[in-house]
Symmetry: C2
Subunit: 445 residues, 2 copies
C-alpha cells in the first residue's frame, strides 16, 4: 500500500480520533481556547465592522439556525460562522499558535458552534472537533512556515480554512476518505493576503475561512472529491502558495504531539512583541511606587523586530497596538492595557501623549525575540530596570484559568453582557458534559 | 496626485463606464457570451455534480430570489450564482479567453444574473456589468500569466473572483472607490488550484469565485475597505500567488482595447488543442466520402503540447476529452463531436475503440500551437491530408451566431428543455431591451 498523502493521513487522524483517548490536559485546553474565543467575540459585538458583517450575512441568509454571539441575532450556519469569526479575531486579541502565528479559534470554532447548534450535537463533540481542526490548521501551517506568510499569505485565513474543513468534517462524522476530500476541497478555498491585514478585507478572509469549512465538509458529504495530493502535489496548494513545504511536518507525531495544545492567549490587545514591554512596565510601576510625574525618561530595549515594528508615531488606534511608546506609557501611567486603552480616546489622551514622548526605543540585538528590557529614570536620578524574557500569556507563562476568566469579564462588559458573563463562563467550563449547546447559546444570544 | 493603484484604476474604469459608449460589436459579444454561458449551464443541469451543488446550496440558502438554470429551483443569490457557475463550467465546454485560459462567463455572469433578478435590474445593466467584470478578470489574468497558472493556480477561479467582484460592484452602482475596495476584497478571496482540476473540488472553487463577487461587492457597499495596493503590493495577491506580475498590463489601453471582446466559444467539449484535430477529421470525412471501414490508418501530427496532452489510452470520459485518438475517431467515424460523444458509452463503443487503434500521433515541431495535420490512408492506398492552423471557434475563426445557436440547442436538449430553447435564445438576443430579467428567467426556470 502506498504511503497516504497528507490529506489522507489527516483524514484518518480526524475520522479515527476518539474523545475518550484525548488527555485531560488537552481537553481542558480546548475549553480554555473556547472561553478565550467567545469572550473576544463578545468584546467586539458592537464594533461597526461586526455590525456590517451581520447586516451582509442577514441579507444573504437562510433560516436562523445558529447564534451570533452577543447580538440577539441568529443566522444560517455559514452566516453565523462568518460573523463570529470576524468578531473574535477583529482586534487580534484572541489566541495564537506562536510558531505559525495562526489564530486557530477564529476560523475553526465558529463553524463548529454553528453546525452543532443547528444539529443539536453535544458539547464534547464540539470540543473534540475543535482540537482536531485546530491541529490540522497548525500542522499545515508548520509545513508551509515561514515562507507562506513571508510570501504574503495571511496564514490564519489560509490554514484556518483547512482546520475549519477538518473540524466540520469530523463533527459531522464523515469517513476518513470524506474528511480527506473536505481538506482537499479547502485547498481550493484557502485565501487571504497579508497586504490586506490593515484593512477590513482581512476580516472577510477570516470569516470566509470559517464559512469554507462548512462548505467543504458539506460537499465532501455529498461525494465531491479532491486531488489525492491536493496539498503537496506538483500543482497543489503548498507549492502554489509557498516556496518549499515541509510536508512531513503535517504527519510527524500526529495524535501524539498536539500542536493545538500549544495555543496561547493574549493578555493585551496589542502586537505580541509588545507584551514583554507592557509586563516590564507594570512590574516597574509597582516597584517604583512613585507618581508618574516623577518619571523623567524611559528606555525600552529590544531586538530588531521590536524596533522595526514598534518605534513609531502614534496617530490612531491601529498605531497604538504596535507602539513601543504607547505600550510603555500604558504600563507605567495607567497600570493596565485593556481594549479601551488602545482606542482613539486613549491615543488622544494628553497625559498618555506626554508620557509617550518620554519613551526612547533602543536596539539590543542580544535580547531574544519577544523579550524587552525597560529602564526608568526618575527626576531625582534614581534608576530602576527590569528585563522580561517570557511575557505573560506566552507558552512559558500561560494565562491561568482565573486570568482567562478576568479577560472574559472585560470582553463581556465591552459587549454589553457583563451580567451574564459568570453564567457564560460556567457554561463553557461545563461544555464537556453538555448534551447540546442550547444552554450556552441561550446565554450568548 | 500619485498614480492610482491597480484596484483604483479598475475602480474608476468600472464606475465611470457608460453603456452608451460601448461599441455595438462589443455589446453583441456580451450577448454571445451570455448565450453560450446559459446554454452550457442548461447542458449539465442533470449532472450529478450539479444536482449535489444544488442540494448543498438549498440546505444553506435563504429566500429563493434567483433562478438556477434548468432546475425548476430558485435559491438565494449566492447559492444560485454558485450552482450556475458550476454547471456552466462543468465540462469546460464554455468560453475561453485564450491568452490566459480564463473561462470568463462562469464566474462573472452568474452573480450578475442573480443580483439583477433579485433587484429587478435591466438586461442592459447585466450585459454592461458582464463586459466590465470580464474585462477585469482577463486583464488581471494577463498581468499574472503565465507564471500564475504554472505555479498551480486555477486562473478561472482566482481571476474570476476579481471579475465577479468588479461586475457586481458595477451592477450595484458603487462608487469608484467602493469598486476598488470590492476588487481588493476579492484579492483576499481568490483561490483554487490546478492540482484539483481533475476533481470535483475544482467546481467548488469556480462556484466560490461567483459567490465571492457578490460578497465582495456587498461588503464594499457596507464600507469595508481593502489595501490600496491589494494586487501589486509587496505582500499583495500578485506576488503571493505568482512570481512576477506585469501590473501595467492591467491598465494599458483600459476602456479602449477590450480583452473580453476576444472571448471565444468552444464548438466541441474537448480540450482546446484537440479542436484542430476534430476540424481536420471532419473535413477529411467529407472529402473522402468513403465508409469508415475503408480507412486503414490515421496519422495526427501536432506540436509537443498536443502530443504531451493527447497521446494517451482512453479509459473514461475525462480521458476522451483530452485524447488525440478519440478526437480523430469522432471526426472521421461519427462526423460529430458533441457532449454525448465524450461520455462513457462513447468511450466503450466498440466501433470507436477499434477506430482509435488506427490512429497514430506524430510530433511535428514546425506546427504552431493549436494546429494539427491529419493524414488518412485508405485500404486501397489512397491518401488524403489536411492541415488546420486555426480551428473553428478560435479568435481567427469565431463561431457564427448561428453556430452558437446550434450549440445552445444541443445543450438545451441535454438539459431537458429543448422545447423552450428557441424562446430562450430570442430572449437572450433581446436582453439589451429587457426592462428586467423576468421574461428570460421564467423561460429558464
Amino acid at each position: 500500500m502506498p504511503d497516504p498523502t497528507a490529506t489522507q493521513a489527516l483524514g484518518r487522524f480526524v475520522a479515527g480520533s476518539d474523545w475518550r483517548d484525548i488527555p485531560a490536559a488537552l481537553r481542558h485546553e480546548a475549553k480554555r481556547s473556547i472561553l478565550n474565543h467567545v469572550g473576544c467575540a463578545l468584546g467586539t459585538a458592537r464594533d461597526p465592522a461586526v455590525q456590517a458583517a451581520l447586516r451582509v450575512m442577514r441579507g444573504l441568509g437562510g433560516a436562523p439556525a445558529a447564534t451570533v454571539f452577543g447580538q440577539g441575532a441568529r443566522l444560517d450556519p455559514m452566516g453565523a460562522a462568518f460573523v463570529n469569526a470576524v468578531a473574535s479575531n477583529l482586534l487580534d486579541y484572541d489566541d495564537t499558535h506562536l510558531d505559525t502565528v495562526i489564530h486557530p479559534a477564529a476560523p475553526v470554532a465558529p463553524p463548529l458552534f454553528a453546525l452543532a447548534e443547528q444539529r443539536g450535537l453535544p458539547g464534547a463533540a464540539v470540543l473534540h472537533a475543535f482540537l482536531l481542526g485546530g491541529e490540522v490548521a497548525c500542522r499545515i501551517g508548520n509545513a508551509v512556515s515561514p515562507g507562506h506568510y513571508a510570501r504574503g499569505w495571511h496564514i490564519t485565513s489560509t490554514c484556518g480554512a483547512f482546520g475549519a474543513a477538518a473540524g466540520c468534517a469530523g463533527l459531522l462524522g464523515l469517513s476518513a476518505e470524506q474528511v480527506a476530500h473536505a481538506i482537499g476541497i479547502a485547498s481550493s478555498e484557502a485565501a487571504g493576503t497579508v497586504e490586506n491585514l490593515p484593512n477590513a478585507a482581512k476580516n472577510v478572509s477570516v470569516g470566509n475561512a470559517a464559512r469554507h469549512g462548512i462548505l467543504a465538509a458539506m460537499f465532501a458529504a455529498e461525494g465531491y472529491d479532491a486531488a489525492p495530493a491536493a496539498i503537496e502535489g506538483p500543482l497543489g496548494w503548498a507549492r502554489a502558495a509557498g516556496d518549499a513545504a515541509d510536508v512531513a511536518a503535517i504527519t510527524e507525531g500526529l495524535g501524539t504531539r498536539w500542536e493545538i495544545g500549544r495555543n496561547t492567549y493574549k493578555p493585551y490587545p496589542a502586537g505580541i512583541v509588545f507584551h514583554a514591554v507592557i509586563d516590564a512596565c507594570l512590574e516597574l510601576r509597582a516597584r517604583l511606587d512613585a507618581p508618574p510625574e516623577a518619571i523623567a525618561a524611559v528606555t525600552v530595549a529590544g531586538d530588531a523586530l521590536l524596533l522595526a515594528r514598534g518605534d513609531r508615531a502614534v496617530r490612531n488606534a491601529r498605531d497604538s497596538r504596535v507602539s513601543i511608546h504607547h505600550s510603555a506609557a500604558l504600563g507605567l501611567l495607567r497600570g493596565r492595557a485593556g481594549v479601551a486603552d488602545f482606542e482613539q480616546p486613549a491615543v488622544d489622551d494628553p497625559a498618555l501623549a506626554g508620557f509617550r514622548a518620554k519613551v526612547t526605543a533602543a536596539l539590543d540585538a542580544a535580547l531574544p525575540r519577544g523579550a524587552a528590557r525597560v529602564t526608568v529614570r526618575l527626576a531625582n536620578g534614581r534608576e530602576e530596570e527590569t528585563t522580561v524574557l517570557t511575557p505573560r500569556g506566552s507558552e512559558a507563562r500561560p494565562l491561568t484559568d482565573a486570568e482567562l476568566e478576568a479577560k472574559y469579564h472585560e470582553n463581556a462588559a465591552l459587549g454589553g453582557c457583563a451580567d451574564r458573563a459568570a453564567a457564560q463562563i460556567a457554561a463553557i467550563w461545563g461544555l464537556e458534559e453538555a448534551a447540546d449547546l442550547g444552554h450556552l447559546t441561550a446565554l450568548l444570544a
